[in-house]
């Protein structure tokens, strides 16, 4: 339903004529959804004013950052936060940066690299917002999930500005918790449903030391970027192992010895996707590299703070791999490939090759948490891919899963996906069935419960968290203007 002229005008008064649109012409670009209007607020005050208007007129709203994915009902207001693209602060001494929603990870990381710093970039890719909660390739060093946010500035569904932790009390970004119990418990972003309602307008994220170069020495022309040299005191390798058990043994030892900057449990299909510049090249490379690996494996980057530190880490790495009967992939020892992988797996610039390039879509089951447990489940989920591969519904990746260590192996993440052509209705249905079946198996066999599943089943199995969340949303959002929370992708 279109906004009345008067209501449209009220929003226009807040953001300016250029920053609101309800013309059908823009809607195909916004998920082909018939939004009541798309609004581009420029700062916290404008967001607040828009939210208050939504309350006044009982209009549902949803915010997006780069907005990679999302499902939206019609006739709601979409807040496209594109104009809020400032890096507010980088505090080197206290290891945090403060960003607005439309600073993408690549921008923040480039600024951080100059200062010998880095942060957690989500595996979805460096083209996503830096503010996003999530997990990524570098989690071994840069942590993940909701553990990287510090203070957050939040516009509640009622249009109040709440600043968490030290931000609310003493105008500092370094701590998002307190006074007393932490509201960071409920301030979270991810793909809805069940995301914090309202809008995050700024967030502080933790930073980590970056022993690498202030900028990678990239040469070449797109899509053939490579490094002119491997930066000093850094090395990247891919190791495969004779069994999952051996791989896990090595992965755990690497975590406990704290030697890896990154441990990315790539399967060889993803390596092939990452380093190649076309679908055809990827297929050929996958077939070739598959013959070289001896089983499941992972990709490791070690980075020394000094030559001595690097030498130590390298020695330990080689020892651990040898003890687990691991084999180094020759292709990754080639400095050109090593450099490509190193750069792309720290700048996280090749995720799209690994996911969308093949067929145009991929459906995934990602799980954060206990790595050894989720690997167990993932083996079965991988086997369940085989019939789909045989039927040609999904890209043949050997039925593999992947994942990575988080916080030096304390936590972990496992993921498995199917890449397919979404225009192929049969393939789409088969993939969705696989996803449903494997989620159900995970639930029944008690590996985990995906919270994307049916809430009436999942909720009671997880201490009825959904009911608590529902109560909370009602308390925060009495007018029901932010029912699905915010999509920050």
């Amino acid at each position: 339903m279109a906004l009345s002229k008067e209501v449209y005008k009220e929003f226009e008064c807040v953001v300016g004529e250029e920053n609101i649109c309800d013309d059908p012409a823009i809607m195909p670009a916004y998920y082909n959804n018939k939004f009541a209007a798309v609004i581009l607020p420029g700062n916290t005050a404008e967001v607040q004013a828009v939210v208050k208007l939504c309350n006044k007129h009982k209009l549902v709203f949803r915010p997006i950052c780069t907005g990679w994915s999302g499902m939206f009902p019609p006739d709601i207001i979409l807040l496209d936060l594109r104009r809020m693209n400032h890096i507010i602060e980088i505090n080197e001494k206290n290891m945090y940066a403060v960003v607005e929603p439309y600073v993408i990870s690549s921008q923040l990381q480039a600024e951080l690299f100059k200062r010998g710093l880095n942060f957690c970039i989500k595996g979805a890719g460096t083209n996503c917002t830096a503010m996003l909660r999530g997990h990524g390739h570098m989690d071994q060093t840069t942590s993940g999930d909701d553990r990287n946010h510090l203070a957050i500035e939040w516009i509640t569904p009622e249009g109040d500005i709440v600043r968490s932790g030290a931000l609310g009390s003493s105008d500092e970004w370094f701590c998002g918790d307190g006074p007393g119990p932490s509201i960071r418990s409920i301030l979270t972003s991810a793909v809805p449903p069940g995301v914090t309602p309202g809008v995050f307008t700024k967030a502080a994220v933790k930073l980590y030391h970056w022993p690498g170069p202030s900028a990678y020495p990239i040469e070449g022309v797109s899509p053939n970027y490579a490094l002119s040299e491997i930066p000093p005191n850094m090395m990247a390798r891919y190791y495969s192992f004779p069994s999952v058990e051996k791989m896990w043994q090595a992965e755990l030892a690497i975590g406990e010895s704290e030697i890896s900057f990154e441990l990315m449990g790539f399967n060889i299909s993803m390596v092939a996707a990452n380093i190649t510049t076309s679908n055809e090249e990827e297929e050929e490379t996958f077939n070739r590299l598959s013959k070289e690996v001896i089983g499941p494996g992972f990709f490791v980057i070690i980075a020394g703070n000094s030559a001595a530190d690097f030498a130590y880490k390298k020695k330990v790495l080689e020892k651990i791999v040898s003890e687990a009967d691991g084999k180094s992939l020759k292709a990754a020892e080639d400095p050109r490939i090593e450099g490509i992988l190193m750069c792309q797996c720290t700048r996280i610039s090749a995720s799209i090759r690994e996911t969308f390039r093949n067929g145009g879509a991929f459906n995934s089951i990602p799980i954060m948490g206990q790595r050894d447990l989720t690997i167990k489940w993932a083996i079965g989920a991988g086997k369940a891919k085989e019939p789909l591969i045989e039927k040609g519904y999904i890209v043949d990746d050997g039925g593999a899963f992947f994942g990575w260590g988080v916080e030096q192996g304390h936590l972990g993440k496992t993921e498995i996906f199917c890449k397919f052509d979404p225009q192929n209705a049969e393939a789409k249905a088969a993939v969705e069935a696989w996803q449903k079946q494997e989620n159900l198996r995970a639930f029944k066999e008690r590996y985990f419960a995906s919270t994307m599943g049916p809430q009436d089943e999942i909720g009671p199995a997880l201490c009825n968290y959904n009911q608590w969340w529902s109560k909370l949303v009602k308390a925060l959002d009495p007018n029901g203007v932010s029912p699905e929370g915010g999509a920050l992708v």
Binding site: E18, N19, C21, D23, P24, A25, I26, P28, A29, Y30, N32, V38, L40, T66, G67, W68, D80, R83, H86, I87, V103, I104, S106, Q107, L108, Q109, A110, E111, K114, G125, T126, N127, V221, S222, P223, Y225, S278, N279, E280, E283, Q344, R347, I348, S349, I352, R353, F356, R357, N358, G359, G360, I394, V395, D396, K419, F420, D421, P422, Q423, A427
Partner: protein
């Protein structure tokens, strides 16, 4: 044909927003990370490369009404191709082609932009892209003793271009080019008054028929002249001759060089020796149609292979901006003694458009200027005293934007610096 042939490509867009930015690994900081002038200015996703693909897909699937907003989206695009380069770093799909086809469709459906209609009317009347141009096209060459390629056989036809011929401020480029070619002892000529627009900008604007008319006229004249090589100092012209004519099977064996490529060759062959010192700190702007869009056309025909991937039989080679003309202009600058080249952040295949492409300088001069202004700030940030480019449309747009901004930054075409050095 038309938009329909890109249905699969448009549906491949996963809305990753890579098209809005320069290739991720090339991002050097918070500033100068944006690649697409259109979405950078207008902010709604519809203005991005991906947004345009979404619109194209919707047009094919459900049909769309041509609202003012839709046409605003369509015509506020320089068709610079930056979106495609960033997208094609990772994805195998056409980006600029469907965007261009949508423009063409708008023109075919009679949904034109009045300012561009005026330009095309002028083209049909005068054979030029410069509205209100006075005098004869070849008048700038008076007294320069240049061979008339319509009357004498020449090895090289120097295609001057509309803007360079008619714009008094740009004619210096033509004169400098002539001086350079004469110094190198090249057997070249110009068509003078008989020269007509290459048609490249007409194609950008969506007027395919007019482009083809111009292309046929030009190829006829080139054949008559006996020239085996066409050299031009206009990037639009370069792309027209080299890429578009080839695409429409009109080019034949004709060799097409941009003047920067030619000068680079002449220097390497020892025919040109830039000896005089030109003390200048410069930065170089890669024109879109010399750089990423100047890469050769690849003739391909095939069918999508049904299955799990978006692949074709035979395999489709995508033009990803890899083979554009990037090094020759730089090598030329490096061979001029005293010139110190400092690169901007957005260069080569991910260069930021000057703002003049796609007819935008005519249909929305304010947006064209806005785009140029961003580039000028980027140039200034390098510490350079001069911005060097290789296209008169770029130079004109930059010059006008600098005037407005009050900056001291100078703008030169590459031939002007070479002329100083020889």
């Amino acid at each position: 044909m038309g938009l329909e042939q890109y249905k699969g490509d448009m549906e491949m867009c996963c809305r990753c927003s890579a098209c809005k930015f320069i290739p991720m690994q090339r991002v050097k900081g918070n500033q100068y990370a944006y690649a697409c002038p259109s979405i950078s200015r207008y902010n709604f996703h519809a203005y991005s490369g991906g947004g345009r693909l979404n619109i194209g897909a919707a047009m094919l699937k459900d049909g769309m009404k041509y609202t003012d907003k839709l046409l605003d989206i369509v015509y506020n695009c320089q068709l610079c191709g930056a979106c495609g380069v960033s997208c094609n770093y990772a994805m195998d799909m056409e980006v600029l082609e469907p965007i261009s086809e949508f423009r063409i469709k708008c023109v075919e459906d009679g949904k034109t932009n009045p300012a561009l209609d005026k330009v095309i009317a002028n083209l049909r009347k005068q054979g030029s892209m410069v509205i209100g141009a006075r005098g004869k096209r070849g008048a700038w060459a008076a007294g320069l003793n240049i061979k008339d390629a319509t009357k004498e056989k020449v090895d090289v036809l120097y295609h001057v271009g509309c803007l360079t011929s008619y714009d008094k401020n740009m004619q210096k480029m033509a004169k400098a080019t002539v001086k350079i070619l004469q110094k190198a002892g090249i057997n070249f000529g110009i068509a003078g008054d008989a020269e007509t627009c290459c048609g490249g900008r007409a194609y950008q604007m969506g007027y395919t028929k007019d482009f083809l008319n111009q292309a046929k006229k030009n190829m006829a004249m080139i054949k008559k002249s006996g020239a085996k090589t066409v050299v031009t100092s206009c990037a639009d012209g370069y792309q027209a001759f080299k890429v578009l004519y080839d695409r429409f099977n009109l080019k034949g064996d004709l060799k097409v060089l941009h003047i920067s490529e030619y000068i680079d060759k002449l220097i390497r062959d020892g025919k040109l020796k830039p000896r005089k010192k030109v003390d200048m700190a410069v930065t170089y702007h890669d024109p879109c149609r010399l750089g990423r869009l100047g890469e050769p056309w690849v003739h391909w025909e095939g069918k999508k292979i049904p299955g799990d991937r978006f692949v074709f039989d035979p395999p489709k080679p995508y033009r990803r901006g890899t083979n554009g003309v990037y090094e020759p202009p730089r090598d030329v600058l490096k061979s001029i003694p005293g010139v110190k080249l400092t690169e901007m952040t957005r260069i080569k295949e991910y260069s930021w458009c000057c703002g003049a492409g796609g007819g935008v300088n005519d249909s929305n001069p304010e947006f064209a200027k806005w785009t140029a202004q961003d580039r000028i700030e980027e140039a200034i940030s390098t510490g350079a005293e001069a911005l060097v480019t290789a296209c008169p449309w770029c130079e004109k747009n930059f010059t006008e934007a600098i005037k407005d901004s009050g900056s001291n930054l100078k703008v030169y075409d590459i031939v002007e610096l070479v002329e100083k050095a020889i």
